[in-house]
Symmetry: C2
């Protein structure tokens, strides 16, 4: 193992150069204009997987962007890890807020800045380098490994479930490993045992067939912007409670043990507020901030558009208004059931004076596992060695819908080992990744393969 | 007078060619990128005024776009008309909804389509041609004439009041004539005796210093889009009643006579709905549609913008949200007082979890005159001759703030004689002007100068 770790230390600079290449490809899955870039990024990742010694590297076409598969299956008798990551990234707007170009990775103060640095290219790359270290120094891995990387995580993984169902036998494993989440805080490595789910919608409100002069017609017909505002104000009340009937029915309450554990975490509200730039926090009464973002469902407005939004004033009565909205779900809320409830509620509160359409855009189930299982404990030992500190157990507010898919379709538990930091601007301008955490994460990943390799298993290899 | 009318008939085609030149200049006052175009348009109009025989044609610079002045003051003993119009136009977005380019005037089915065709270049041009007819055929006008054209009507006429105050003596006259309004309906010429006023604002709601991942932070801080929606829903209630305290205090109620006159007008609700493309009308309970748009104040959302508005889904918690909103005012509401009330109310309902700023963008007083005064009656006779039908008396929902300025600063009554039609898409894509109404309007304008010229007056010439 020393040779593996020495290799990781000795190649830090080269690793960074390679990561910059990965980050330079604008694989924005949400924007059709970047379709070729997404494909180019898949090609880059596949070539890198082959170069480091993975086998059977294949691009599987989907109706959207390809899924990349690769494996190394020569650790007879050892368990098999199914590693999942994604090579697509979020859009970069508003571009003017980036301090350096989002696809020209720039290092400042020990952080690498680029779209995808933390979410998720940097963390996928971390495993590439851990695998390279083992394969180049030992000619083998201590565990069997199957890797799938998708190109549609940022747009809802619409085609991944079908891919997993179509390749159940090929993907058989003992445990899933995913690195697409964050540590609790700088210097506080963590293991995540719960994720929120997601329902994402677009609401379109239309009235007249064309924009009108607000003087000539103002007062005579419904204003779509006003109607949209009134509808949104009826979805969540002022105290942050979601008013969709039945919305909370299946919410699994936090246990007393969880609340006690969360309360022990080194959460600094003042720093949290300062990092976000807000004077006051705000959320559901009766819950702490960590409880609100990890274990309580929410409704958020993700986007609004209506009428004239340029410089100056235009006295227009808009013909339409649009909102992008989403709900984060917690165990045991079901996104299909919640979508049905939401759809019915929005249609019920829609006035008859306008046309309202609700388009379902993304959905993903919430997920939770027993944090005391063998794989989580093995990962905890690896992280403790890599970062010099035993990881804390946390939940996360984000969604990785495939974790539920792996549980349901393949019957596999997941280990969520993320090295991002909460202030690294995933989904926002100036996304970045701490280079120290990247380095420690490569070491921890290399150790993780050993720890899992040493567990009983091997049913599938 | 026959020679004047013959000239107008004989030159119809040439007039159209000239109007197309005027309409070809994209004088969009709201957009800084078009600043040079606005100036070019002022130059075009000034040259045309000189060409038809007006004198002392001058461009007066302002902090914004220039005011054009020209006169003809040789009708000794006759009254003086101060004609007001504007040469700037509204923005054209959404451009993709135009069936022909907005600045390449196109004639289809007896209508000329272009931005500014109705509002207000076409109607200014109508007077140019009436003046040209008199001056070319008689070498004189039957009345004294002063003309001012501004380039900032569509952005709130910010510099016109100062111009009028600075040139009070030069602008002395007996009556103001403005053609920047619509007829009641096709074949129903009208005189307008009342206008609504305007207060226009931008509301900005800000929370975090950057857009955030809606999964990681959703539930912990206020969402500016949601807050904005909740605030807008508190400004106007679901029955369309404005909730700003004191808002209705100074509203002059409709008289029984006005309500009876409005009720007699040939208003076809079914056609109105069909023209607008709405299934249902909607407005303040207890008032007819005409009463709602002519004589009742309203609050409208003119624009909304927050977060991600592109194609697809982005799970962003926006850092800010913006609304452009405006109120139409009726006599005797004062825009400054209403702005103060609005500002205070918005700040009162703004939650402490966000920063809310209210920017005042435009304001204009409502206006009303006695429709039985001599000038209105003179105009009624001219319109009856030009259009073959006695005009009905109407109010308008739009705002022409300068009408109040002329009343207050110069002590002048105004005659509002418009030849636009309600469905001509002022401020919307596919703006147009009916060519028959333009032709009849040129005749009526030429007759109007005669009618007013025959009245007692001449105090200022």
């Amino acid at each position: 193992m020393n040779a593996v770790l020495d290799f990781i230390h000795a190649n830090r600079d080269r690793f960074l150069d390679e990561l910059k290449q990965f980050l330079a490809i604008p694989s924005i899955s949400a924007l059709p204009a970047h379709q070729e870039d997404v494909k180019r990024c898949a090609d880059w990742a596949a070539a890198e997987m082959t170069r480091i010694g993975l086998q059977n590297v294949t691009l599987f076409p989907t109706p959207g962007h390809p899924v990349i598969y690769g494996d190394w299956l020569h650790a007879a008798g050892a368990p098999t890890i199914l590693f999942y990551g994604h090579y697509d990234v979020q859009p970069v707007d508003p571009l003017e807020l980036w301090e350096s170009p989002p696809f020209d990775a720039t290092i400042r103060d020990g952080e690498i800045y680029a779209r995808g640095a933390a979410d998720d290219k940097g963390q996928v790359f971390m495993h590439f380098k851990a695998l390279e270290a083992h394969l180049s120094q030992n000619g083998k891995l201590p565990v069997n490994m199957k890797i799938i990387l998708e190109g549609e995580e940022e747009v809802g993984s619409a085609n991944l479930d079908d891919f997993v169902r179509a390749h159940k036998a090929d993907l058989a494993a003992d445990v899933v490993v995913i690195s697409d989440s964050t540590m609790f805080d700088r210097g506080v490595p963590s293991m995540c045992y719960g994720l929120r789910g997601l329902c994402y919608f677009q609401i379109d409100v239309k009235s007249a067939s064309t924009d009108l002069h607000s003087g000539m017609y103002g007062g005579a017909i419904a204003n779509p912007g006003q109607v949209l505002a009134q509808m949104l104000s009826q979805i969540k009340d002022k105290s942050s409670r979601i008013k969709v009937p039945g919305f909370y029915d299946d919410v699994q309450p936090l246990t007393d043990e969880e609340r006690a554990e969360f309360a022990k975490l080194p959460f600094n509200e003042k720093k949290y507020r300062k990092d976000l730039g807000v004077a006051k926090l705000f959320g559901e009464p009766g819950y702490s901030t960590l409880e609100r973002v990890w274990a309580r469902p929410t409704f958020e407005v993700n986007g609004l558009l209506s009428g004239f939004t340029g410089e100056g004033a235009k006295t227009v009565l808009p013909a339409q208004a649009m909102a992008k909205v989403s709900m984060r779900l917690v165990p045991n809320q079901d996104p299909v059931k919640i979508s049905d409830l939401f759809d019915a509620y929005v249609k019920r509160i829609a006035p008859k004076t306008v046309d309202v359409t609700v388009t379902r855009m993304q959905g993903g189930k919430p997920w939770m596992c027993d944090p005391h299982n063998d794989f989580v404990q093995a990962a905890a030992r690896a992280i403790e060695q890599g970062f010099g500190r035993r990881p804390v157990l946390v939940r996360e507010g984000g969604s990785i819908p495939v974790v539920s898919t792996f549980q349901e379709e393949l019957g596999l538990p997941s280990v969520l080992f993320g090295v991002g930091l909460p202030d690294e601007n995933a989904h926002a301008p100036n996304e970045k990744l701490d280079l120290g955490n990247l380095h420690n994460g490569i070491i921890a990943s290399a150790l993780l393969y050993e720890e899992i390799g040493a567990l009983a298993g091997g049913s599938t290899a």
